[in-house]
């Protein structure tokens, strides 16, 4: 995964390159001229209530042209409601949605230069693949010849040539997903909205489809906003991720920043696994802060930039916790944190193994280590080990 995270930033740059496909035809009904530095989509303090339930609670967000943006959150966090407001299926109670500087919050769905790929695909069962894709083009009053050309182009784009006459119920799940994508892309929307686009696919297909979606988005230079509950999916595909919880947008960051510098304890726990030690910050010395924790004694962390108030949590990702049989030599530059304990659980996952180490205080630390050799079984349950990590790898989060 680390590899993909590193890739994401250069990708963003490439995505921002001018589109290789000719400018939109259908979406031109709302011509958009972007000033330099102006976001394509600006969501301003948008709020939506269902009865007494705050589905979306004053969310503000900018999405730049050509971005692959992911809205990530657990079910019921409001991400789908936010997406449906962008599509026009819900109208915000408060706030504005600016597309190219124009407020579209109250524009009806069929008048927006935005298209959506539905979670269940919503393919019209009575229409052939061809007619499904041509549906939006006919509505736009495109000439017959142009429709044929565009449909053929879309069929090629999603590699469905030869399936024109099939009905949706004669397609496999992956093929349906591609028809839904082609149908939404056919109108060349300013923004393509994708509601859990891969949720209905099995794991293998999901991985290859992720790559295809990224490739497609880069080639078209189109802006994608995807809603997902799957953090790995969001990390793999998106150039930026917005994490939502209980109707609020908690953090917007690149996948790497989200993982390595989560803004809150909740996000740290939601995105990936993490070890947490609660404690009180002590004195800072030489760029390092000592935190006295209940379960792991004093831990040294690199001094954070922002000021801390009150109790904190020291957080460390399992893959950054190393194990060894005896304590490594002290390296002053790195100020190791060393915790002794006994291995209680070994979960072999193929490429890596996760060990649970029970500390003498009773707390448990997880460590994930890559299985870089085939035969050696590094550690066994019951073994005494030292779990160690550097102060640079630790995060300090407010309680």
């Amino acid at each position: 995964m680390a590899e993909e995270i590193q890739k994401s930033e250069p990708e963003l740059e490439r995505a921002a390159e001018p589109a290789k496909i000719e400018p939109p035809v259908v979406a031109a009904s709302l011509p958009i001229k972007l000033e330099p530095d102006m976001p394509l989509l600006r969501i301003e303090a948008v709020a939506k209530k269902f009865g007494n339930f705050r589905a979306v609670d004053h969310v503000s967000l900018d999405v730049r042209a050509g971005e692959f943006f992911a809205l990530l959150g657990p079910s019921g966090c409001g991400k789908t409601t936010l997406l449906r407001m962008l599509a026009g299926f819900e109208t915000p109670d408060e706030g504005r949605i600016l597309l190219g500087g124009k407020d579209i919050a109250h524009v009806l769905p069929h008048e927006r230069p935005v298209n959506m790929m539905f979670q269940n695909y919503a393919l019209f069962p009575h229409l052939s693949v061809r007619d499904n894709i041509a549906f939006g083009l006919k509505r736009a009053g495109m000439a017959r010849v142009d429709i044929e050309t565009r449909v053929a182009e879309m069929m090629a784009l999603v590699r469905l040539e030869g399936m024109e006459k099939r009905k949706p119920d004669q397609l496999s799940g992956g093929q349906r997903q591609r028809v839904a994508l082609a149908r939404a892309l056919a109108r060349r929307p300013q923004v393509l909205l994708l509601d859990e686009p891969l949720a209905a696919l099995d794991k293998k297909l999901r991985e290859s489809t992720q790559r295809e979606l990224m490739e497609l988005q880069r080639r078209l230079g189109m802006t994608f906003i995807v809603v997902t509950h799957d953090q790995e999916e969001a990390m793999t595909m998106a150039s930026r991720i917005g994490v939502m919880d209980a109707g609020r947008l908690d953090q917007v960051a690149t996948p790497r920043d989200l993982y390595e510098a989560p803004a809150s304890r909740w996000i740290a726990e939601f995105v990936g696994d993490i070890n947490l030690f609660e404690g009180q910050p002590g004195a800072a010395e030489g760029g390092r802060l000592a935190v006295s924790t209940r379960d792991a004694g004093t831990l040294y962390v690199t001094e954070p930039r922002k000021a801390l108030k009150g109790a904190v949590s020291v957080a460390i990702r399992p893959e950054k916790v190393k194990l060894s049989r005896r304590a490594p030599a002290v390296d002053e530059a790195n100020a190791f944190n060393r915790l002794e304990g006994t291995i209680t659980d070994v979960s072999y996952l193929g490429g890596q193994t996760t060990y649970k180490v029970k500390l003498d205080s009773g707390a448990t630390v997880s460590s994930t280590m890559a299985n870089t050799t085939r035969i050696v079984d590094a550690y066994l349950a019951g073994q005494r080990v030292v779990a160690w990590f550097t102060s640079d790898d630790c995060l300090v989060l407010d309680q």
Binding site: V26, A87, G88, F89, L108, P109, H110, V114, N115, M116, F118, Q119, N120, A122, L123, F124, P125, H126, F135, G136, R139, A140, K167, P168, D169, R183, A184, R187
Partner: protein
């Protein structure tokens, strides 16, 4: 769901269903067979014959009644289908609106309302309006009854349709009316057709409401059959009934063919 262990043919299944279906079908089969009996007596088998069919086609009054019934059934079923479909759309897509409870109440009550009450009340209305009784009063009465059945049939189909299909249509540039016409309507056409046929057969079948709302000289077929039956069994009636059954069978078969041709996924042919 795959066929589980519990879904299988057992002695209980077969017995219950065999007895049930025998009870439902045997009387009709016997009636059809006896319509071809040359003898006037039910107990005596006089050999196969089309005698009673000839008799029907020479019976002016019966033919008139049959023609009247067919016209009433076709016209009332058509109006009922239009109104019933509109009502179903309003109930499934209209969300909340003023008088909705009254509306749905008025549409569900006639499904079970004793026919004598519906018939009497409509007659009193026609008398008060001083409307001449005949073809149109029966047609209006049948429309009122059968549109409720159409509503239920179409409504249950509309309820099954995934609302995101309509959203997708809007997302692709349809206004609500276009979305309905290009996506929803094609999907409910089979159930609208089923609704029409149900309305047609219900109208063709009704004695009570027609007796109240018809006028002199415009008796429907069921009214004629009914007055003959009160006087006892007549083989000619067997023949007429067989033809009515054949007509309905043709209509149902045509309908199931039509719905198979349209091959709409997830469509159930069941009317109720």
């Amino acid at each position: 769901m795959a066929s589980r262990r519990i879904n299988r043919i057992t002695r209980f299944n077969v017995t219950a269903l065999a007895l049930g279906f025998a009870f439902l079908y045997l009387p009709i089969v016997i009636l059809v067979i006896y319509s071809f009996n040359d003898s006037r007596l039910v107990t005596v088998w006089g050999g196969w014959s089309l005698r009673w069919y000839r008799e029907f086609f020479n019976d002016r009054a019966m033919l008139d009644a049959a023609w009247m019934s067919l016209r009433v059934a076709a016209v009332s079923a058509t109006i009922a289908t239009i109104l019933g479909t509109l009502a179903a759309v309003a109930l499934t897509r209209g969300e909340r609106f003023g008088g909705r409870m009254l509306f749905s109440g008025m549409l569900y009550a006639p499904l079970v309302m004793p026919e004598v009450i519906s018939g009497l009340s409509l007659l009193l209305l026609f008398v008060a309006l001083d409307a001449g009784r005949g073809f149109w009063t029966v047609t209006i009465a049948h429309t009122t009854l059968t549109m409720c059945f159409v509503t239920v049939v179409v409504q249950s189909r509309l309820g099954q349709i995934d609302r995101s299909l309509e959203e997708a249509a809007m997302d692709l540039g349809c206004n609500p009316a276009q979305a309905f016409l290009s996506v929803t309507l094609p999907l409910i056409i089979p159930s609208i057709a089923a609704g029409w046929m149900l309305a047609f057969t219900l109208s063709l079948d009704d004695v009570v409401i027609a007796s109240f709302t018809t006028g002199p000289g415009s008796a429907t077929l069921p009214i004629r059959i009914y007055s003959e039956v009160r006087l006892g069994v007549k083989p000619e009636i067997n023949a007429i009934c067989t033809m009515v059954i054949a007509l309905i069978a043709i209509v149902i078969t045509a309908a199931s063919f039509a719905s198979r041709l349209s091959r709409v996924q997830g469509e159930s042919a069941a009317p109720l």
